[in-house]
Symmetry: C2
C-alpha cells in the first residue's frame, strides 16, 4: 500500500538518524497528514527513552536564551538535544515568533541538536496534540534530552508542561507585581526554578519571593533561619519521598549558573526514576493522549454518519435560539449516535 510504503520510507531513515526524514515526520504529525497516525504507531515502540524538560515562563524572562544555554550544557556532556519552541501567541499566522534565528545561528550545524518551532493552529487542544506528537517523533529519533519551551501563562502551556518529565519555571527580576503573581499558578507545576537575568537589580528579591512562597524563607529580613525545622530543608529529594524545587540563579547570556541548572534537571530525573514517579507520569500522559485521540475519532465517526451540512445547519438553529445546544446533542445522538 502507498500509505504503508510512505510510512516505512520515513521510519527507517528517521530511526537511523536522517534529519530530513525527521523534519518531514514532524511536519506530517503537525499537519495531521493522512499517514500521520500510522507513522506515530510505527514510531511509538521506539519512544520512552528521552528525558523531556519543559521550560516555561512569562515573556521577558529570557527563556529562549536559557533554553539555548541548556542545550549547549547538555551537548557538553555528550547528550543529543531536541528543542521544541511552542508559540501560542501566533495562532493565525502560522509563523513562530520566538528567537529562532538567534538560536539557529548559535546551534546550527551541530548534528546533535534539532530545533523546531510550533505555532497554534487555531483549535483548542490542537497545539498540545501537535506538540505531544512531535515529542514522540523526537523521542523515537533518539534524542537524549528534549527541551520544550512555552510562554507560561495559558492552559495549553500547562497541558504541555504536564507532558514533561521535569518542568523548569523561569523567573526574572523586575517584571512587575502582576507578573510576580503568576508564580502562584506556576508554583505547582515547577520542579526547578531558574531566576534568570540574576545580575540585575532585584534578583535577590525574586529569589526571596520564591523561597517565601515555598514557606522556607524567614519572615523578616536579617533574621537567621532556624538551625532545624521546616525552614532548614535543602532543595531536592526529601526524606519523605517528596521533591522540594531548587531555585537556581542564572545569567543565560553569559552561561552563568546553567551547569547547575542542568545538574538539577539530572537530579530530578534520577529522583523520578528512583521513586517510581517516572512511570506514573508516563501513565498520566498516556491516559491524556488516549483521551484526546478517542474524542477526535468518536466525533469524526459520528460526523461521517450525519447528512452533509447537518452540523452547520443545527449551529445556525442554535445561534438563532430556535434550539439549545444540549437538546440538539440529545437529538443528534438518538438519531445518529449508534446504528
Amino acid at each position: 500500500m502507498a500509505t504503508q510504503d510512505s510510512v516505512t520510507g520515513l521510519v527507517e531513515p528517521l530511526l537511523a538518524g536522517n534529519r530530513r526524514a525527521l523534519a518531514r515526520a514532524i511536519s506530517q504529525v503537525e499537519d495531521e497528514a493522512a499517514d500521520s497516525h500510522a507513522l506515530l504507531a510505527a514510531l511509538y515502540p521506539h519512544t520512552g527513552r528521552s528525558h523531556i524538560v519543559g521550560v516555561t515562563g512569562a515573556p521577558g524572562t529570557g527563556k529562549s536564551t536559557l533554553v539555548n544555554a541548556l542545550a549547549r550544557a547538555f551537548r557538553g556532556e555528550g547528550k543529543t538535544v531536541g528543542i521544541i519552541a511552542v508559540d501560542p501567541t501566533s495562532p493565525f499566522s502560522g509563523g513562530a515568533l520566538l528567537g529562532d534565528r538567534v538560536r539557529m545561528r548559535d546551534l546550527a550545524g551541530d548534528p546533535g541538536v534539532f530545533i523546531r518551532s510550533m505555532a497554534t493552529r487555531g483549535s483548542l487542544g490542537g497545539l498540545a496534540r501537535a506538540t505531544g506528537d512531535a515529542l514522540s517523533v523526537l523521542d523515537a529519533a533518539g534524542f537524549d534530552r528534549i527541551l520544550v519551551e512555552t510562554v507560561g501563562v495559558g492552559q495549553a502551556e500547562i497541558d504541555i508542561a504536564a507532558a514533561a518529565h521535569t518542568t523548569v519555571v523561569v523567573e526574572a527580576p523586575g517584571l512587575g507585581d502582576e507578573v510576580q503573581a503568576i508564580k502562584a499558578g506556576v508554583l505547582e507545576i515547577a520542579d526547578v526554578f531558574a531566576v534568570n537575568k540574576a545580575d540585575r537589580d532585584g534578583a535577590d528579591h525574586t529569589m526571596m519571593a520564591l523561597q517565601m512562597m515555598q514557606g522556607l524563607a524567614p519572615a523578616t529580613q536579617g533574621h537567621h533561619r532556624p538551625a532545624s525545622g521546616h525552614g532548614h530543608a535543602e532543595p531536592g529529594a526529601q526524606g519523605d519521598g517528596s521533591w522540594l524545587p531548587p531555585i537556581v540563579k542564572t545569567v543565560a547570556v553569559r552561561g552563568e549558573g546553567v551547569a547547575q541548572l542542568a545538574g538539577w534537571i539530572e537530579r530530578h530525573r534520577e529522583y523520578l526514576a528512583a521513586t517510581g514517579q517516572l512511570s506514573r507520569r508516563e501513565e498520566a500522559r498516556a491516559a491524556n493522549t488516549l483521551d484526546h485521540i478517542l474524542r477526535d475519532r468518536l466525533l469524526a465517526e459520528l460526523t461521517q454518519r450525519l447528512p452533509d451540512g447537518y452540523l452547520r445547519q443545527v449551529a445556525g438553529e442554535i445561534a438563532r435560539r430556535e434550539h439549545d445546544p444540549y437538546s440538539v446533542v440529545d437529538r443528534i445522538l438518538s438519531a445518529y449516535g449508534c446504528p
Copy 2:
C-alpha cells in the same frame, strides 16, 4: 422529578433578577453539576441579547482596572454589566488571583453589576467550556454588557476571545520587547486596541508600534502622512465593509479615555449588526459549543460501555510501550464503539 424541580427553582428567580439564584446557577454550570445541562437548556431561549466584550492583554497592562472603569462607564449609560474574570494562571488552587477584592470594593453594592472569577479546572478546554456556559447564564439573566477578562497569551484565552462579540486588546508602554512581540499574535483577534497607562513614558511609541503593525504609520519619523491612500484610513468601519481597529489611549486609574473606549465598543457592536457579522459570529460560537458538547457526550457514552478500569489499564500498556495509542484506539472502537 427532583431534577426538573431544582432547575425550575433556579430558572424563574434568575430570570426575575435574583442574584443568589444567578450565583448558584453559575456555580452549577461551572461545576457541571447533575442539573447543569437541563439548566442551560432552560436558559438558552433567553440568551442572545447581551453584548459580550472580551478584554485581554499581557500581565502588567492594567486590564483589571480598565475592566472596572469600563463597567462604570456602561453603568453611567444605564446599562447593566456582568464581569467574568478568567484566571488561567491558577489551574490547581481553584482560587482566582485577579484583582477581585479591589474590584469588589469599587463596584460592590451596585445591583446592576455582577462579578464572577473563574479559575482553570485542570483540563484543557474545561475553562473555555465553563466560561462559555457562565456567559450564557449571565446573558439569560439579562445583563446588557458582559466583560470577559483574560490574560492574553494562551490558546484558551484565544478561544474565549472567539466567544466575544468585541475583543479589546490592552497594551501598555514599557513592557519590554518580548511583550511587544505578542502583539503580532493578538493583532488578528483585536477589534479595539487600548493603550493603557498612557501617561507613562513610551505610550506614543506603543501607539506608533501598533499603527505600524496596521500598516498605517509613516515608515520614517517626521515624514508627513500622505493626504490620500491607505495611510489616511480612519479607524472603524471601512468603505469596503471591513473594520479597522481603533487605538484608544486610556489611563484607567483616572478614568481617562474610558468613555472613548466604551464608545468604540458600541460602534463596533453597531458595525457587527449592520454587516450581518453578528449572526455569523453567533453561528461560529454555536458550532464551537456543539463540537465541545458532542465530544464530551460521545466519550462519556463510550466510557460507560467499557469495563471498569479499562482506560486506566490500557494507559498503562501504552506508557510501557506495549502498544501505541492509535492502535489502542482502533481496538477500543472496534470492540466497544457501536454495538
